[in-house]
């Protein structure tokens, strides 16, 4: 958007010196090719429009103060319209990144606010480097010029820097963005229960790769299909099953022929009429890409992207690769393949996106909307606290509704009651069932980790704690547990790392003598 605005402005003022370089550089930015834009920028800066282009480039390069200065200089004393909006965005970004420091390792540069977000650093570098190395080649190569990431500590800062309306974050759950050759990510601590932030980073980076390899010509459905299916490949070799909730949506839509048409997904998934439909759409396009990859081979998507870059319609390109150019045949083949998959058919609900701290039941897909059932959960909590586990169990059972989707918050509580009643096996199985339905609910993993650890199953416990930390790395108890387990298993390096995280969390950041210095 920014590039488009600046580009339009530049075109309107063409005819000056270096016009070709500026236009080329702008086109490079629009095509997500930062290196190309940087090359085109050499020797520019003598005219207002060159300054505007340099401002755009600086904005892409994460040099926000410089970008604002250049754009203001280029725009003159009284900017109007789109230029004024752009200045506002730059200003908002400068404010949103106030106090940030940046650190570069390899191809990745991460800007963040010193403090507890420091616990995200190692994994951010690891995730993106792995994504760069593993996902990039599958899609035609990673963009040159490295990866720039900003981790915003609050949703408000993310909203300000991204330009996304606040309501969209709450309703559509957008917490990260790939834009301006950068990745804008909300820290998991800004959400009530965290989120799968590492896969999300990989997801956004995948968007960047796709944009680069298609000259940003891929439609939304293809972008999201590739990103959603590939977001896990930084940590595993093959695709991962969809979350149970999305499987249940897909199964229902297949059975009732209520799939979302691809054309309805434009211009954005966020504009679909409901969050449920958006989830279904994501599930559809992700499985389409999985189908293409599975049925043709690992290079199939890469070849499709080449055709899209060449200007071919995305579905036609995919069908070319996947079904000899017959779109209908491709879609029919995909549906047939889907039916062979063992999709979860249970009635499940989406986890609500809750910004900031709130009542934990507000983050529950069932109880958030069922105050009658939530009341029983609260009663159960009180009874459990009062050491009346049997009575608590009765109240929790009242909170179950066979006709409604399962509740992860209730699952965790039931497990606690079973544990209090001495039935750890049942507690474990309850949690495992909850995790199967809602793997992104960190508390389930933590609770299961506790149980497994007590049962002496240290490896399994470590796996669960890690899963919990992957969603919500800001729980010092989980980091402590991991440090203990790693120490017991002889993994001193990892134990030390977890201890360091725990200390960062307890102290609100690195110890002063080790704290990162703020950038000037």
């Amino acid at each position: 958007m920014a590039s488009a605005v600046v580009g339009a402005w530049l075109l309107a003022r063409s005819g000056e010196a270096h016009a070709g370089d500026v236009a080329k550089g702008t086109a490079c930015l629009a095509a997500a090719d930062l290196t190309c834009a940087q090359a085109a920028s050499q020797g520019l800066g003598s005219t207002a429009r060159e300054e505007a282009f340099l401002a755009d480039l600086a904005f892409h390069e994460q040099h926000f103060d410089e970008a604002l200065r250049l754009l203001k200089a280029a725009a003159g004393p009284s900017p109007e319209g789109a230029t004024a909006d752009l200045i506002d965005l730059y200003k908002a970004t400068v404010e949103a990144t106030a106090g940030f420091v940046s650190e570069t390792r390899g191809d990745v540069t991460v800007a963040y606010l010193p403090g507890t977000d420091e616990v995200l650093l190692d994994d951010t570098f690891t995730t993106l480097q792995a994504a760069h190395d593993r996902i990039g080649p599958r899609l035609g190569g990673a963009p040159p010029g490295g990866i720039r990431v900003e981790i915003y500590p609050t949703a408000a800062r993310f909203i300000a820097a991204s330009g996304i309306p606040a309501a969209s974050v709450q309703t559509t759950g957008v917490v990260a963005l790939s834009k301006w050759s950068r990745l804008l990510v909300t820290s998991p601590r800004a959400l009530a229960r965290g989120y799968a932030w590492k896969d999300t980073i990989a997801h956004e980076y995948t968007h960047y790769i796709v944009a680069y390899n298609t000259g940003d010509k891929a439609p939304v459905w293809l972008q999201e299909g590739i990103a959603r299916s590939h977001e896990v490949l930084w940590r595993r070799d093959g695709f991962e099953d969809l979350p149970a909730y999305q499987q249940s949506l897909l199964a229902g839509a297949l059975a009732h022929d209520t799939l979302v048409p691809l054309e309805r997904m434009n211009p954005s998934m966020a504009f679909l009429p409901s969050a449920e439909m958006a989830s279904l759409a994501f599930a559809q396009v992700a499985t389409m890409i999985q189908y293409l990859d599975t049925s043709v081979g690992a290079d199939a998507v890469k070849h499709a992207l080449v055709e899209v870059r060449a200007g071919k319609d995305a579905l036609a390109a995919v069908a070319d690769i996947g079904a000899g150019g017959n779109s209908d045949a491709f879609l029919a083949g995909w549906k047939a393949w889907l039916r062979t998959q063992k999709l979860v058919a249970r009635d499940l609900a989406a986890m609500p996106t809750v910004i900031g701290e709130s009542d934990d039941l507000a983050t529950d897909p069932l109880l958030a909307g069922r105050k009658d059932l939530a009341g029983f959960v609260r009663l159960g909590d009180l009874l459990l606290t009062a050491h009346k586990p049997q009575a608590a169990l009765i109240e929790y059972q009242k909170a179950s509704d066979d006709k409604a989707p399962a509740s992860p918050a209730l699952g965790v509580r039931l497990a606690r009651v079973y544990h209090a009643l001495g039935d750890d096996l049942r507690a474990i199985s309850t949690l495992q069932a909850t995790i199967a339905d809602y793997p992104e609910y960190a508390s389930s993993h933590k609770e299961l980790g506790d149980l497994l650890e007590r049962a002496g199953k240290r490896d399994d416990a470590t796996t669960e704690y890690l899963a919990s930390a992957d969603i919500n790395p800001f729980d010092p108890d989980v980091q402590t547990a991991l440090a203990t387990l790693y120490a017991a298993s002889g993994n001193a390096a990892e134990a030390a790392r977890r201890q360091r995280y725990e200390r960062i969390l307890r102290l609100g950041g690195s110890p002063p003598t080790a704290a990162p210095e703020k950038k000037p």
Binding site: G115, S358, D372, L383, T385, Q390, A391, R506, G508
Partner: protein, 993 residues
């Protein structure tokens, strides 16, 4: 006394008054003359360069007073009538002897009255003819007046002199030097250079002496400042004086032409005041250039308060918590709170810094009680700060006034909260036991007493609490309603158990009744616990929000106060950290009330994290790692700010939810009201159609009236039977209750003209009555314990039911006229629309009821009834049944009425809860300018369970400066080398104390 004699006395009195007046005028004139003359002499002396001694001035004043007294010395005597009579006799010899005789005889009657009267008549005429000015001429005061005029003229003339009459006042003003005559200034000026001014400020300003070399000569200083002037003259003058603000004082001139003098800036120095040198030399006098004297006034302190509204309220024991700030040019000596109430004004001390400071800010930690206010008072309060001006005198500055309304004790609310939590916890334990009871709780009737005894013991803690902490009148309506529900269902359950008939098996019906009673009681317990829990959570959240905001403010302030850390301020920093630590502990305690929620975890985690950071900062401080400590304190402040912001967002969302619920309730209320009105209108139209076309329906109406009468009769009789059977009647009691329930239903159906339902109910009543009659017969045969009243009444109930059935048969045969049926069918569409609206309203009511903090069963029940009955009415109208239609319409309206009442009660309860929990919080709890406390009045909220931690004012733990200096001197005292370290340590400890 006769008229003639009275006339004589009046005449003489007039003369006496004239003489007195002239003597007084003369005295005043003599005073003026002497004073003016003396003044003129003084002015002349000043103009001659001499200030007469002050004693001479006093002598002039004394002389003037003596002259005045002498001139007027005869004023008392002038009032005597004899004096005037003698004077008249002297002027008119014809009166000689007679006038005096008349006067004397008038006051002391003696001799012949007739003779005296004749004498009086004789002298009265001549006396009247004498004008008073002839007896007392004006010249009596002439000389003094003439002298006064002359002297005044001289005084006026003296104003043309260089130093006019006013110069006397200046010359004798305290501390003034004799004014000097202004030397000619129009000519050339003496050249003076190298002016150096050295300012010695008054001690109270705390300013160090300042020297200004190469000055342009202008003096800028606050009053009381002594300015030492050094300069150099171009030529060697023989003498020099300083003229400053018109006053001349000595100056020195050295052999090197160096000039030296000083002046003190007086408080009343005029704006255009100047100073200059006066030189004398062989060529005559000359003055230097003029230099300005610019007084920097020491203004009164500026005081501001940080409130969002000029009105606040607080409970009598609640700290008003208003942030204030005072600033003064040189120092604040003390701060008080000025309170005005009921026409009286008084002050309460607020702060008195040990060492006056130019800026002082704090929060008012006073409660209305400490302000000597009582509940119900409305006072105007102002923060008043006094400066430390020791020259012109201390000046006060005030903040803007704030109106403070004093509410009841916040302690009561804190106690209520505490009691509510205790009661909730006790009820949780009770619930826990009831939940795990068998269903039914007993297997045999004989188990009842044993179970009841044990189950009743479950309430011991609860009953004790209710009897002590919860003294009945406390809490809000919702509290009381919830507890009443608990008590009612408890009584019902145990009453049922006690009423079980002795038997070797528990009847299925009894078992089912026990299970139902258990369920009802559990539901009541759950409702009360949830309600209490919600109120506890709301209160805890408010406490946390308030504490977080305060801590953020305090941490920020602390960071400002300790821009750098060092050994000197370590003790104070540690003290402040201690306070923060205690507040964090209180925060954790409040977080525990939020239960196992994300917010509770967040608060707890944040509190723990902050405590960890504080501990680390303390450690760094103790170890002398000041930079690390400072960095950690910065982090603490930032973390607290973020924490407070997070809670603020949470609060905002909560308020949005409350607002949304409030809007939904308002909307629902409007819809119900509108529907009820529309339903009433449609019923009216239905009635009109019936009246227009339904003459044949008069009979049907009469039948319904008859049905209702029988139903009423059956219901009254059944009520009597149930009462007679009593609660301990075993099976008889149970059956009587069933009979009564069916009779109630029959009456309801008759009133709503629901023929179908009425038939069903009548059949049930008849059946129950038959069964009951059989039971009576059986019991009378068994033990003769049948209830007498039942035996006679039950047949009547059965007869009423049978009569109702017969009337319903008759009703079924009566049909509305075709015209009426047609009209009803036309209206059926409208009724259907109303029924559909009622259905939508019922769904909305369900949604609203789910969000209400307390149950509102009437809301859902009423709207569902409105929907169902509206639907029935529409059906009846389509069938052309006007009676059922009217009944349905009426019943629908009744349902809406019930729902509206339930909603209003819920609104009232919510308002009460909000008022109860928000007391002291809602009065301007918006953000302060600095984003600090969102609490009452921008300050601390007293309505908390958690203790309020007050950061002590610096003077409460700082060592006074004088003491500190003395200690420092002690530290520097001579001691043997081997004791030097010990000496230092000893004094350092003292300083830290």
């Amino acid at each position: 006394m006769t008229d003639a004699r009275l006339e004589i006395q009046r005449q003489l009195r007039r003369v006496a008054m004239r003489e007195r007046a002239l003597l007084i005028v003369g005295g005043g004139a003599a005073f003026t003359a002497v004073l003016a003359f003396g003044w003129v002499c003084g002015v002349m002396a000043l103009n001659l360069g001499t200030r007469p001694p002050l004693g001479l001035a006093w002598l002039v004043l004394a002389t003037a007073a003596v002259a005045a007294g002498w001139t007027a010395r005869e004023v008392p005597a002038a009032g005597g009538l004899r004096r005037q009579a003698l004077r008249a006799e002297a002027v008119r010899p014809v009166l000689a002897g007679e006038l005096l005789t008349v006067l004397d005889r008038s006051s002391r009657p003696l001799g012949s009255e007739v003779l005296v009267e004749r004498m009086a008549l004789r002298v009265a005429g001549p006396l009247r003819a004498i004008p008073p000015r002839e007896l007392v001429p004006t010249r009596t005061a002439g000389l003094p007046v003439l002298m006064a005029v002359l002297a005044s003229v001289l005084l006026a003339l003296s104003s043309v002199l260089p130093l006019g009459p006013a110069s006397i006042l200046t010359a004798y003003a305290p501390g003034a030097s004799p004014p000097a005559p202004t030397l000619p200034v129009g000519g050339p000026r003496a050249v003076v250079g190298d002016i150096t001014l050295r300012y010695l400020y008054p001690t109270y300003t705390g300013l160090s002496p300042m020297e200004v070399p190469n000055s342009n000569g202008d003096i800028h200083a606050p009053p009381g400042t002594t300015v030492e002037i050094r300069a150099r003259a171009q030529v060697a003058w023989t003498s020099v004086r300083l003229e400053a603000a018109g006053v001349v004082s000595p100056a020195e001139i050295g052999a090197d032409r160096g000039l030296r003098t000083s002046l003190t800036v007086a408080a009343g120095t005029p704006e255009d005041a100047i100073w200059r040198f006066q030189f004398d030399g062989p060529a005559g006098p000359m003055v230097s250039s003029d230099y300005r004297i610019l007084v920097d006034p020491d203004l009164a302190p500026q005081v501001t308060v940080d409130v969002t509204a000029p009105r606040v309220s607080a409970a009598v024991d609640q700290s008003v918590g208003i942030p204030w700030r005072a600033h003064d040019d040189y120092g604040i000596a003390r701060v008080v709170l000025e309170i005005r109430e009921g026409g009286k004004t008084w002050e309460v001390p607020v702060r008195a810094p040990l060492n006056p400071t130019t800026d002082l800010d704090d929060r008012l930690a006073l409660t209305p009680t400490e302000m000597k206010l009582r509940s119900g008072d409305t006072a105007q309060i102002r923060v008043k700060a006094w400066d430390n001006d020791a020259v012109s005198g201390a000046k006060a500055g005030w903040s803007a006034p704030i109106q403070l309304t004093v509410a009841g004790a916040g302690r009561d609310l804190a106690r209520l909260r505490s009691a509510r939590k205790d009661v909730r916890d006790a009820l949780v334990l009770v619930l826990g036991d009831f939940l795990v009871d068998d269903q039914p709780a007993i297997k045999l009737p004989a188990d009842g007493p044993g179970w009841a005894k044990g189950a009743l013991a479950r309430y011991d803690a609860y009953d004790t609490l209710v009897g002590t902490s919860w003294s009945g009148g406390e809490g809000v309506a919702a509290d009381r309603a919830a507890m009443t529900q608990v008590d009612d269902t408890r009584r019902a359950l145990f009453g049922l158990i006690r009423a079980l008939p002795a038997s070797d098996r528990l009847a299925d019906a009894d078992g089912a009744a026990i299970v139902a009673a258990q369920g009802a009681h559990i539901e009541a317990l759950e409702g009360a616990i949830l309600l209490f829990g919600q109120m506890i959570q709301v209160a805890a959240l408010k406490d946390i929000e308030r504490m977080a905001a305060e801590m953020a403010g305090d941490a920020e302030q602390m960071n400002k106060d300790f821009a750098s850390l060092n050994a000197g301020n370590t003790p104070e920093a540690l003290t402040r950290m201690d306070e923060l630590q205690r507040m964090l502990e209180a925060l954790s305690a409040a977080a525990a009330q939020l239960g196992d929620s994300s917010l509770g975890e967040f608060t707890n985690d944040s509190a723990q994290q902050l405590q960890g950071m504080l501990a680390e900062a303390r450690k760094a401080l103790r170890e002398g790692r000041y930079d690390d400590a400072k960095a950690l304190m910065d982090r603490v402040a930032e973390a607290m700010r973020q924490f407070a912001d997070g809670l603020k967002d949470q609060q905002k969302r909560g308020e949005e939810r409350s607002e949304a619920l409030g809007n939904a309730m308002k909307d629902l209320k409007q819809k119900m009201s509108a529907l009820q009105a529309d339903q009433a209108k449609l019923q009216e139209r239905t009635d009109q159609e019936r009246q227009a076309h339904g003459a044949s329906m008069d009979a049907a109406m009469a039948i319904w009236q008859e049905i209702e009468a029988h139903a009423q009769s059956a219901q009254s009789a059944a009520t009597g039977v149930a009462a007679a059977a009593g609660p301990s009647g075993g099976g008889l009691s149970r059956d009587s209750r069933d009979l009564r329930a069916e009779a109630d239903g029959l009456l309801d159906a008759a009133r709503s003209k629901n023929a179908e339902l009425a038939r069903s109910r009548a059949e049930d009543v008849a059946q129950e009555a038959n069964a009951f009659a059989r039971l009576l017969v059986f019991m009378s045969r068994a033990d003769g314990k049948a209830v007498p009243v039942a035996a006679t009444t039950v047949p009547g109930i059965r007869a009423d039911a049978e009569k109702v059935l017969a009337l319903l048969d008759k009703l079924a045969q009566s049909q509305a006229s075709p015209e009426l049926q047609q009209a009803l069918k036309k209206l059926a569409g409208d009724q259907q629309q109303l029924a559909d609206r009622a259905q939508q309203i019922a769904e909305q009511a369900k949604s609203v009821a789910e969000q209400l903090p307390m149950k509102a069963p009437g809301l859902e029940k009423g709207t569902e009834q409105a929907s169902a009955e509206g639907q029935r009415a529409a059906g009846a109208m389509r069938k052309g049944d006007p009676m059922s239609a009217a009944g349905g319409q009426q019943s629908a309206q009744d349902g809406l009425e019930e729902a509206q009442q339930a909603l209003e009660q819920a609104e009232q309860a919510m308002a009460e809860m909000s008022q109860s929990e928000g007391q002291g919080e809602g009065q301007g709890g918006e953000a302060g300018k600095d984003g600090k406390p969102q609490n009452p009045n921008g300050g601390r909220d007293p309505n908390q369970n958690a203790p309020m931690m007050a950061i002590p004012a610096p003077e409460e733990f700082q060592t006074p400066e004088a003491y500190r200096k003395a200690l420092m001197e002690g530290m520097q005292g001579n001691v043997p080398d081997q004791y030097h370290s010990s000496n230092l340590r000893y004094y350092e400890e003292l300083v830290r104390q």
